[in-house]
Symmetry: C2
Subunit: 345 residues, 2 copies
DNA sequence: CTTGTTAATTAAATCAATTTAGCTACTTTT
DNA sequence: AAAAGTAGCTAAATTGATTTAATTAACAAG
C-alpha cells in the first residue's frame, strides 16, 4: 500500500549484506550459480517484509529491457463489445503479472499509428491491435519490427502474424440458416463500407448462403459509412422494405442498435413486418420489445486467448512462429427472427 | 513507429558532442544555466530525427522518479458510465503526455486494495479512484501517503482529498420536481444497499423533497444488494405497485436497466401504469419503447476535471491543497415521466 | 602441507537518461 | 595587462535493480 521508498540498498544495509545478495533472494535466483545461505535468505526476506519493500519497476525495466506491460488498441473502448474484451484481457494479464494500457483508434488510421508510437515509446512488451479501416500498411510495418504482436477481431491478409478471430463466415451462415429455416428468402445484409476482414467474411458467408439456396437475385448488401449512420440507415431499410425484404441481418452490434432504432422510427414492427438477426449482444437489446436473435461471440475466450498468445510471443525470441486462433460463434435464437409470427397478426 | 533502439549516446556520438548536450537539447533546457550554440542544437535535433530517437521511459522514470503515468480505478470499466469517463480521461491525459492504467474494483474492497498496490508498484504519478462500498479505510490510508489522489464520482466524508463529484442532492431534487410537477405523490426510490456518498446524497435529496412537499408518509426507499439484482427488483417493484406507487426513481443506470426489464416482465406499461425517472444515460434506453426521463451527468467534464486535478496535484509538492469540484446535473425529460398520459388510455 | 573444490558473498559494470560541477576559450571590464 | 565574466561544452555522479567476475573461507584430496 504505502508509496514505496525502501530500496534493495536499504535492505542490504539493515541486513548487513551486499545488494547483490538481496537481489538474488528477492528474485528467487538461488541455484547452482547463485548460492545463498538459508539463514541469510531468511533474514533478508524478513527485513524486506519489515521495510515493506516494493521493487522499483523503472529500474527493473531499464535493466531488463522489459516493462511487464501490454498495449491494447481497440477501435473504441466504450463499445461494449470491446469494453467486455478489455475486462477479460485485464483479468487474464494480471495472472501473468502484466499490466495493460488501453487505447482507442476510433477507426482512424493516423490515430492508430499515433497510439502505437505512444505505446512503443512507453516500452510495452507486446501489442494487441484491432486493425481499423485503412491501417493495413501501418500494421504491416509494425509486424516487421521485432515487437510481439497479436491482431484481434480482424486480420490483415497475407501477413505472418498471430490472430484471435471469430469464424465470421460460419457466423453469417448460422444467421442465414436460422432465417432460411423460417422461410425467409428476401434477406438483406446491413454492413459497413469499411474494408475489414471480419465484415468481409460476414458478407462472404451471406453471399455464399444466398447463392447456395438460390436466392441470389434477392440479395442486397448495404454498405454504410461509419459517420452519420442513422440517416443512411433509414434510407437503406426503406429501400429494402420497398423491395419487400423479409429479413435484415445486421453485421455488427452498433449497426443492429441503429437499425432497430430506425425501424422504430419507421413504425416497422419486428418480427411482424420484418425479421431481424444481429451480431453480438448488447445491453441495449435487453429493453427491446422483443428478444433479438443474434450471433453470440465468445467474449471471455477472446480475452483469454489474446493474452495467452501475446505472453507466448513475448517469451519466445523466435518471432516467426505465429498462431491463429479461430473461435466459434453461437446462434442465440430470440423472437426477432420468428417470421411465422406474421400469420398470428 | 520502429521499436526504439537509438539512445542519447548514439546521437552524441554521431553529432560529435557529449551526451549531456543532447539531453539539454532534447529537453529544451536551453537557458541561463544550460547554454547550447544554436548551430549545435540544430545539428543534434537533425541527428535525433535521422536516427528516429525515442527517449527511454524506464531510464527517464528511474532518474526523475516520475513515470508520466496515471492510474484510474473505477468500479467497472465495462459499465458505460465509467467506460465513457475513461475515454475522456484518456483523451485529456494524452494532452499532458500522460498515459493511463485502468482497473476495475468490481465494488470489492480487497480487489481495490490490490489494484492500488499494483499501480503504486508500477510507479504511477497519481491515482484516480472511485471508492467502493467498504473502502473507506483503504482510501484513508492511501490519502495519508504522499501519492497525489483524486476521488471520482463518490467521496469519503471528512477526508482532506480532491474530488470530482456530481451534485447528487440537486440531481435527486431535479428528478423529484419533474415527477411532482406531473402530479405524482407516491414516489418510491430504488437504490443500492451499499454505503456510497453519491447514493446517500441522492437518497437524501429524495427524502428532503418528499418531506418538503408533504408526501413523507408515501416515501419508500428500496435498497437492493449488488448481487442478483433482478429477483430483488421484481419483488420491490411489486411491493411498490401494490401500494399504488405512482412513480419509481432509479438511483443508477444499472438499476434503471434492471428496473425496466422487471417492469417489462411484470407487464407494467410505462408511463401508463407508473412513471419512471432514471440516472445517467445508457444505450439500452435507445431501444426502449418510450423515451426515458433521466438525470444527465456531464461525462466529458468529469473526465476533463479529473485529469486537471490530478495533474495539478502531481505538479505541486504541497499535498495539503485539495480541491473539490461539484458538477451540475441536468434533467432530460422524456415520456417515461409523463404521468398525465394515463388519461389518454 | 600444498592444491583443488565449493559454498557464500561482494565489488563493480550495466541499463539510458538527468543534472551538477567544472573546465576551456573568449570577451569585457578596470 | 590582470581580473572578471560568460558562452559553450563535458566528465562524472546519480537513479535502483540485475548480473558477471572476483574474492574469501572452509574443507577435502593428494
Amino acid at each position: 500500500m504505502a508509496v514505496h521508498k525502501t530500496t534493495i540498498k536499504d535492505i542490504a544495509n539493515k541486513a548487513g549484506v551486499s545488494i547483490a545478495l538481496v537481489s538474488f533472494v528477492m528474485n528467487n535466483k538461488i541455484g547452482r550459480n547463485y548460492r545463498v545461505n538459508a539463514e541469510t535468505a531468511k533474514k533478508i526476506l524478513a527485513v524486506a517484509e519489515e521495510l515493506n519493500y516494493q521493487p522499483n519497476n523503472a529500474a527493473r525495466s531499464l535493466r531488463s529491457g522489459r516493462s511487464r506491460t501490454i498495449g491494447v488498441i481497440v477501435s473504441d473502448i466504450s463499445n461494449p463489445f470491446f469494453a467486455d474484451i478489455a475486462r477479460r484481457i485485464e483479468d487474464n494479464a494480471y495472472k501473468y503479472n502484466y499490466t495493460v494500457f488501453f487505447g482507442s483508434s476510433d477507426e482512424n488510421t493516423s490515430k492508430l499509428e499515433n497510439l502505437i508510437d505512444v505505446m512503443v515509446n512507453k516500452g510495452v512488451d507486446g501489442l494487441v491491435v484491432v486493425p481499423c479501416h485503412g491501417s493495413e500498411e501501418v500494421i504491416r510495418k509494425l509486424a516487421e519490427t521485432s515487437l510481439p504482436l497479436v491482431l484481434l477481431d480482424r486480420t490483415i491478409s497475407d501477413l505472418d502474424v498471430s490472430n484471435v478471430l471469430l469464424n465470421n463466415k460460419k457466423a453469417a451462415l448460422l444467421a442465414m440458416d436460422c432465417l432460411i429455416r423460417q422461410g425467409c428468402r428476401r434477406i438483406e445484409l446491413i454492413s459497413y463500407s469499411m474494408s475489414l476482414s471480419n465484415i468481409a467474411d460476414r458478407e462472404y458467408g451471406y453471399q455464399i448462403s444466398m447463392k447456395a439456396h438460390g436466392f441470389g437475385e434477392y440479395g442486397h448488401i448495404h454498405r454504410l459509412r461509419f459517420k452519420d449512420i442513422s440517416d443512411q440507415m433509414i434510407r437503406v431499410l426503406g429501400e429494402g422494405l420497398s423491395r419487400e425484404a423479409e429479413a435484415f441481418v445486421f453485421a455488427t452490434n452498433t449497426l443492429a442498435v441503429e437499425g432497430l432504432k430506425a425501424l422504430n422510427k419507421m413504425n416497422v414492427i419486428v418480427p411482424r413486418d420484418v425479421a431481424v438477426v444481429g451480431f453480438d449482444d448488447s445491453e441495449a437489446f435487453d429493453l427491446y420489445y422483443t428478444t433479438l436473435t443474434h450471433i453470440k461471440q465468445p467474449i471471455e475466450q477472446f480475452g483469454y486467448e489474446v493474452v495467452e498468445l501475446i505472453v507466448k510471443a513475448i517469451n519466445q525470441k523466435d518471432r516467426s512462429q505465429c498462431t491463429t486462433i479461430v473461435l466459434n460463434p453461437e446462434l442465440v435464437e430470440g423472437n426477432s427472427s420468428c417470421r411465422h409470427v406474421k400469420r398470428l397478426f
